[in-house]
């Protein structure tokens, strides 16, 4: 009697795809994220209007067929500015997540692989960074080293490092005691090799989920810094800056404040839904009760 006969059939190849299609959060999140990304990419080659071209006679117009989302105080088309703003927000958030992952994941894996003093020192250092209010420190960094998109990226990125270090360490620690790691060690592989070949592939799901969350937080942080005048600098449009400029003109033209804000909310919402969906799909152990 073969044991195989009683085992359940292997899941079909498109199992993941089926699950993904059935996951509402994932699908809505993916849809929104694709739309926003598409809009940002499109802005490189085409926007409805040229935003460097100021048409003062058209300033602060309401919604119309010519300008679906109206115009600002310099006669620039809001829709075009939001499209280019998407590009900035996404770029800042992606690089900031990249910094966080690039530095944090190796640190976290190192801490998990070595344990002992290395682990203790790295984690205390982590706690130290966590004790600094992130937003305040980001404001300090951008104000001291000069406002601008690059410094905003660094400021946001620094605070992503301990987040990814913690997630990577926790994930790696749960993998290290497993038998296949023991087998790899018995085969004479060193810690670096084991981390790259066996640990990382097993924590990639965790990192991806945390990545989408930090991405969304990065977009919010960039908007906040730009609102204070410390992020992306004019004439480059950014969602936060648009809101700052709208504030004093809100009484006459409320639409100036509404659409950039909606852009932020929709983008962050999309990313959060995508993250929730990914968590459900990639790691059944983390699946939230529904």
């Amino acid at each position: 009697m073969s044991q195989d006969a009683s085992m359940p059939p292997a899941p079909p190849q498109n199992h993941f795809l089926q699950m993904a299609l059935a996951n509402r959060s994932f699908m809505i999140g993916l849809f929104i994220t694709l739309i926003i990304t598409g809009m940002a990419l499109l802005s490189f080659v085409w926007t409805p209007y040229d935003i460097t071209h100021l048409v003062v006679s058209d300033r602060m117009q309401g919604l119309s067929w010519a300008h679906p989302l109206g115009t600002d105080h310099l006669g620039r088309d809001i829709l075009s500015m939001i499209m280019i703003g998407a590009r900035n927000s996404i770029a800042v958030a992606i690089v900031a997540v990249g910094i966080g992952m690039g530095v944090g994941v190796p640190l976290g894996c190192w801490a998990a692989a070595r344990g002992g003093v290395v682990d203790e020192v790295l984690m205390r250092f982590n706690d130290l960074v966590f004790a600094f209010p992130a937003l305040l420190s980001a404001i300090m960094i951008t104000a001291i080293f000069g406002p601008g998109a690059i410094n905003a990226i660094i400021a946001i990125g620094i605070f992503n490092v301990p987040v990814f270090a913690r997630v990577a360490r926790a994930g790696a620690l749960s993998i290290w005691p497993r038998e296949f790691i023991l087998a790899a060690r018995a085969a004479g592989k060193n810690r670096v090799l084991i981390t790259i070949e066996h640990i990382l592939p097993n924590i990639v799901a965790l990192l991806l989920v945390q990545g989408t969350i930090q991405f969304a937080l990065g977009i919010l942080a960039e908007a906040g810094l730009s609102y204070l005048g410390l992020g992306t600098q004019p004439p480059m449009p950014s969602w936060g800056r648009m809101l700052f400029e709208a504030q004093t003109r809100m009484m006459i033209a409320p639409h100036l404040a509404i659409f950039p804000g909606l852009a932020i909310v929709i983008t962050v919402l999309g990313l959060n839904l995508l993250g929730d969906g990914l968590r459900d799909l990639l790691d059944p152990r983390l699946r939230r009760e529904r």
Binding site: F132, P133, I144, G224, M251, G261, I264, T267, V268, N272
Partner: protein
């Protein structure tokens, strides 16, 4: 528990010390002479030298650091370069705006989030759950300063119920002060409430699956009592953790909101101090906030022990 607490306090003090070194050295490397800043660009070299001497700027970095840290320890935060008044006094004035603001928003966020989270958990999978959690999902995505703008437009510009910004001071009466703080507090509270509601719901769901909940229901305990007494208490640990994090965030997170509403709070103080290179003020406020984060974390730990007696015997 006591040993554990003492250990926590020791670690907290150590963290504070390291943080002070980090803050001091980061602000040390940036360009700008505080003495020159105080006197202006046209200052006489003699006066400048005298002031530098008086401010102790000619001393080695390490000595100045020791001087500053030992001052902090006894409550002497130094004197502001631009305001020419003691930093502690400035902080004291501003805390009277920021602390009530943070407390009111924490209160609002808790009284909204806990019932909503419990309600959603009790109706898991039903339309009420889907709708409230969908709303929470949107709430998490709303930047608080944008929500603040919308609130200003609706309640200050359109309905004219409250002032659009500024703070009359507590001397103008508690009511006038509260009126100026209510919109900023709501703007801060809503996104926090959305996060807290989600955490509360998932913590409740976890607890509701436990055996003792089924036992309580099986012996005829009314659903409401099981929910609010048995389940909530056990679900409070993750909720407390988030509350602690949120309080620290609220104190620092007021920076943007205070700028939106032109409130003379800590956030605006530190923001202006940064732009004016008034470093001693920045250092003081940052250290105060870091200390607050550490203290709140320790308080949260004590809170765990109050909520969950099993943790009292730990270590």
């Amino acid at each position: 528990m006591l040993v554990y607490l003492l250990k926590r306090i020791a670690i907290g003090l150590a963290t504070l010390l390291v943080a002070s070194a980090v803050v001091f050295s980061v602000l040390e490397i940036i360009p700008g002479d505080p003495a020159l800043l105080m006197l202006g660009m046209n200052a006489e070299p003699d006066t400048l030298a005298a002031l530098r001497e008086q401010m102790g700027l000619n001393q080695p970095v390490f000595l100045r650091y020791l001087d500053w840290v030992s001052g902090l320890a006894v409550g002497d935060f130094g004197t502001s370069y631009t305001y020419s008044s003691p930093v502690l006094e400035l902080i004291g004035e501003r805390v009277m705006v920021s602390l009530p603001l943070a407390l009111i928003s924490l209160f609002l966020s808790t009284v909204i989030a806990l019932p909503v989270g419990i309600f959603a958990a009790a109706r898991r999978g039903k339309p009420a759950d889907t709708i409230t959690m969908g709303a929470a999902q949107v709430g998490v995505a709303i930047p608080n300063f944008w929500f603040a703008l919308l609130l200003i437009y609706l309640f200050a510009v359109w309905l004219r119920l409250v002032p659009a910004g500024g703070f009359p001071g507590w001397d103008a009466g508690i009511w006038a002060g509260l009126k100026a703080l209510i919109l900023p507090a709501i703007a801060l509270a809503l996104p926090q409430a959305a996060i807290l509601a989600r955490v509360t719901r998932s913590a409740m769901l976890e607890v509701l699956g436990e055996d003792y909940i089924r036992t309580a229901r099986a012996k005829g305990m009314p659903r409401r009592i099981v929910l609010w007494h048995h389940a909530l208490r056990n679900a409070l640990i993750p909720v407390l953790t988030i509350l602690g994090l949120q309080f620290a965030f609220l104190l620092a997170g007021t920076i943007i909101i205070e700028n939106v509403f032109y409130l003379p709070g800590l956030g605006r103080l530190v923001f202006q101090a940064i732009t004016q290179r008034d470093l001693i003020v920045v250092e003081g406020v940052v250290m105060l906030l870091v200390a607050t984060v550490i203290i709140v974390n320790i308080l949260v730990d004590i809170g765990y022990a109050i909520v969950d007696p099993r943790l009292r015997t730990r270590r």
